[in-house]
């Protein structure tokens, strides 16, 4: 009886180990190998592992650590280093189809959840827009534009906010001094500040800081939209993009000229999409060279709610 149990247990462990090995071998062979140093004595059982360079190597099975690929514990320095470098060869781009947005706000929810934000803090904010008195109102999701001519990173006195090689503008809350010059400089109001104790500090959330997720959030520092850099590293779409129920978001790599719809999973040519639909960027006259494109709110598939219309009118009257 007890033997049987043990057998079962052993076999499960073996199964788990081998599945970890497969994952490890395909994705992070090199990283695993480097963590071998100082491991226990060899068992004699050899396993084939593929390194990042594509070389097949044999190592002792006991020297493999069973780790889940997702959560390899990188220390702060490694996370900071890869976060500041970015992903080579990529140039991320987002396309937002305003005809599809019906103000479901799933993107806002997913984003706030992922980045541990308070209800009033938005990395992405769905705005109700009306350009002129008689023009049609529409909903407009507004993330960070990840500008190529960045007003925010220019003014940062300590290089706490910076633009990486793949075009993403990040914030390093390990270095930010909280001067809020970037908030003043951003014409899109894309940045939020942690004015008081953050949710992470309140809940005692103490993971290693990941610059690509900007979590844990820290009091006295800035937070902003990161194009979900942590998800991109795992070849996944940003939180907001994949949570949209209405097909509003396209996201992809400008170098590949391909963007994928977060709802349908359909992949199309970026250049064709923006060409055919007459895409534009927000306030191009400011010269920020945005990397977020909008498809006009033409042939909208939803009505602008009457309630929102009233609100919009009231606001317009108030501001005139």
């Amino acid at each position: 009886m007890s033997n049987k149990k043990q057998d079962k247990g052993t076999s499960r462990r073996d199964f788990l180990k081998s599945s970890f090995l497969m994952g490890a071998a395909t994705v992070t062979g090199a990283g695993l190998l480097s963590s071998f140093k100082g491991a226990e004595e060899g068992s004699g059982e050899m396993v084939k592992v593929m390194t990042a360079n594509g070389d097949l190597v044999e190592v002792d099975a006991n020297k493999l650590k069973a780790v889940k690929v997702d959560s390899i514990d990188l220390d702060l320095n490694e996370l900071q280093k890869r976060g500041r470098e970015g992903i080579a060869g990529k140039k991320w781009v987002m396309v937002i189809d305003l005809a599809k947005c019906r103000n479901a706000r799933k993107c806002m929810e997913a984003c706030q959840h992922a980045h541990h934000l308070k209800p009033e803090q938005h990395h992405i904010n769905v705005l109700q827009m009306q350009e002129a008195e008689n023009t049609a109102p529409f909903y407009m999701p507004k993330p960070c534009m990840h500008c190529d001519n960045t007003p925010c990173t220019k003014v940062c006195p300590v290089d706490a906010t910076f633009k990486r090689q793949d075009g993403i503008v990040l914030i390093d809350n390990e270095r930010c001094i909280g001067c809020r010059f970037c908030v003043a400089a951003c014409p899109y109001s894309a940045r939020v500040f942690n004015w008081s104790e953050t949710l992470d500090e309140k809940n005692g959330f103490e993971e290693t800081y990941d610059i690509e997720l900007n979590v844990p959030q820290k009091k006295g520092t800035i937070s902003k939209c990161l194009f979900s850099a942590d998800r991109l590293r795992k070849d996944e779409l940003p939180y907001c993009v994949s949570s949209c129920p209405n097909g509003t978001y396209w996201f992809g790599d400008m170098n590949e000229d391909a963007v994928t719809n977060g709802t349908t999973g359909e992949t199309v040519r970026f250049s064709e999409l923006i060409d055919k639909n007459d895409a534009y960027t927000l306030m191009p006259e400011l010269g920020t060279k945005s990397n977020v494109y909008y498809l006009p709110a033409k042939d909208r598939i939803f009505p602008f709610s009457e309630e929102d219309k009233e609100n919009l009118n009231r606001r317009n009257e108030h501001s005139h």
Partner: protein, 447 residues
């Protein structure tokens, strides 16, 4: 015989003068009440800052749509008023204007104390003041903040030198005339007098050094306020995105600085009983200076507000209307009328160019100047390019909180504390320069 007599008279007159100027340094009537007031202000500040350090900037009324508020307005105000040191000592001094002689030290004391506090105010505004050294470890040259810190530091140092150098001959004069001075104090005077004996060689060196520093401080002073204006002008926001912000700020700085000097002159004249040295003549002259700088400021105000108001470009229109007739109108017109218009009009009348009325006008001008900095900093942020939505209603307005006001008043208290200390350990009027102007022999001055 007559030569001897006149020499004796000169000696007497110099003695009286030195006595008059030195006496208030050891006469502490009313000082206790004043120090107690400062102590209260600083204690309140300490408590408020403790709260802010513990709970974060959330204890202020700041939020994501007004992320710069009172503190930054206060910073701009301090930098502005500090510029008066350069205006009086350098611009007027180098032009050979004589009436500034008894005022120059007061101007330098204001410059030093205000510039020092300006630097501190920035630290109180930081979300992470514990990381202030990151500016040195990770400083980036393309950030206007780094330029600002650099030039404010240089300005403070040069202003200190411009305060200390003309003190050298005075140190020699006062150390014999302060019977109640402690040994420590006398030692300090001895060190600061740098072995001054009044030789022609020493006179040559001191005049030359003051001259060189006076020339140096002009570009630095222009730089500190121009760079401060660029903290705003380098952004793309309505109301800040202006090409004349540099000269506009500098011209406004002279108004608040001259007003600050007038207030200090009045306070020292009455409390230190210096009526014979800070005379009606000097008040009349500096009143005319205030009219002049206010006129220049008026010119820049017209450019800054009427040109956009003529065009009513979208975005700018909301900003202009909010200032002229909207929610900011009261503060805006208070700042424009008392901080600019009133000094020009009233001080044209000879009756108004007397110490009493000038004290009132200058106080209103200072309040107007502070309000103006607030008007420059805050309304622009509440009128962003994109609408303010999906945030609490309180994000549509900015209401400073108690701790925020306490910290702001605290910084003013700090500046006044520094002025008080400087005015107690140093004579507020340069004795040797005033004596020299009266034609008293150098030999007598350096006896």
């Amino acid at each position: 015989m007559s030569e001897l007599q006149s020499k004796e008279e000169a000696r007497k007159s110099f003695d009286k003068m030195a006595k008059d100027i030195v006496r208030p340094m050891q006469n502490h009537f009313g000082l206790n009440a004043w120090v107690f007031t400062l102590f209260l202000i600083l204690s309140l500040f300490g408590y408020a800052w403790f709260l802010q350090l513990r709970d974060g900037l959330g204890v202020t009324g700041l939020h994501d749509y007004t992320s710069w508020g009172m503190y930054i307005a206060n910073f701009v105000f301090f930098v502005a008023a500090a510029l008066v040191g350069m205006l009086i000592t350098a611009v007027l001094g180098l032009s050979g204007v004589k009436w500034i002689t008894p005022i120059s030290r007061i101007a330098e004391i204001i410059a030093v104390s205000f510039a020092m506090i300006a630097g501190l105010v920035i630290v109180f505004d930081m979300g992470r003041p514990d990381r202030v050294l990151n500016i040195f470890f990770h400083g980036r040259l393309q950030s206007p903040i780094v330029w600002d810190i650099t030039v404010v530091t240089i300005y403070t140092i040069i202003s200190m030198l411009l305060l200390l150098l003309p003190l050298i001959p005075d140190m020699n004069i006062i150390k014999k005339r302060l019977p109640k001075a402690s040994n420590m104090q006398l030692k300090m005077y001895n060190i600061l007098s740098l072995g001054w004996m009044g030789t022609p060689e020493q006179y040559k060196i001191i005049h030359k050094s003051i001259r060189v520093l006076s020339i140096l401080i002009i570009p630095v002073a222009l730089a500190i306020h121009t760079v401060t204006s660029w903290l705003f002008a380098s952004t793309l926001r309505h109301g800040w995105d202006s090409t004349i912000f540099g000269p506009y700020f500098v011209s406004g700085a002279f108004v608040s600085g001259v007003a600050a000097v007038i207030i200090a002159m009045y306070v020292f004249r009455t409390s230190y009983k210096l009526q014979d040295y800070l005379t009606d003549f000097h008040f009349d002259k500096i009143a005319k200076l205030l009219v002049l700088v206010s006129l220049v400021y008026f010119y820049f105000n017209i450019n800054e507000f009427l040109v956009p108001a003529y065009k009513m470009k979208s975005g700018d229109d909301h900003h202009i209307l909010a200032l002229f007739v909207g929610e900011w109108a009261v503060l805006f017109w208070f700042a424009q009328i008392f901080g600019n218009f009133v000094p020009i009009v009233l001080l044209l009348f000879k009756k108004m160019r007397k110490p009493g009325p000038m004290m009132i006008i200058a106080t209103l001008a200072i309040l107007g100047a502070w309000a103006k900095r607030f008007i420059i900093v805050v309304p622009t942020q509440l009128n962003p390019h994109l609408p303010i939505q999906n945030v609490p209603d309180s994000f549509h307005v900015y209401t400073p909180t108690g701790p925020e006001i306490a910290i702001t008043i605290g910084t003013i208290g700090m500046a006044l504390t520094i002025i008080t200390i400087l005015a107690k350990i140093f004579p507020v009027i340069p004795i040797w320069e005033v004596a020299e102007e009266k034609g008293i022999d150098r030999e007598i001055i350096n006896e």
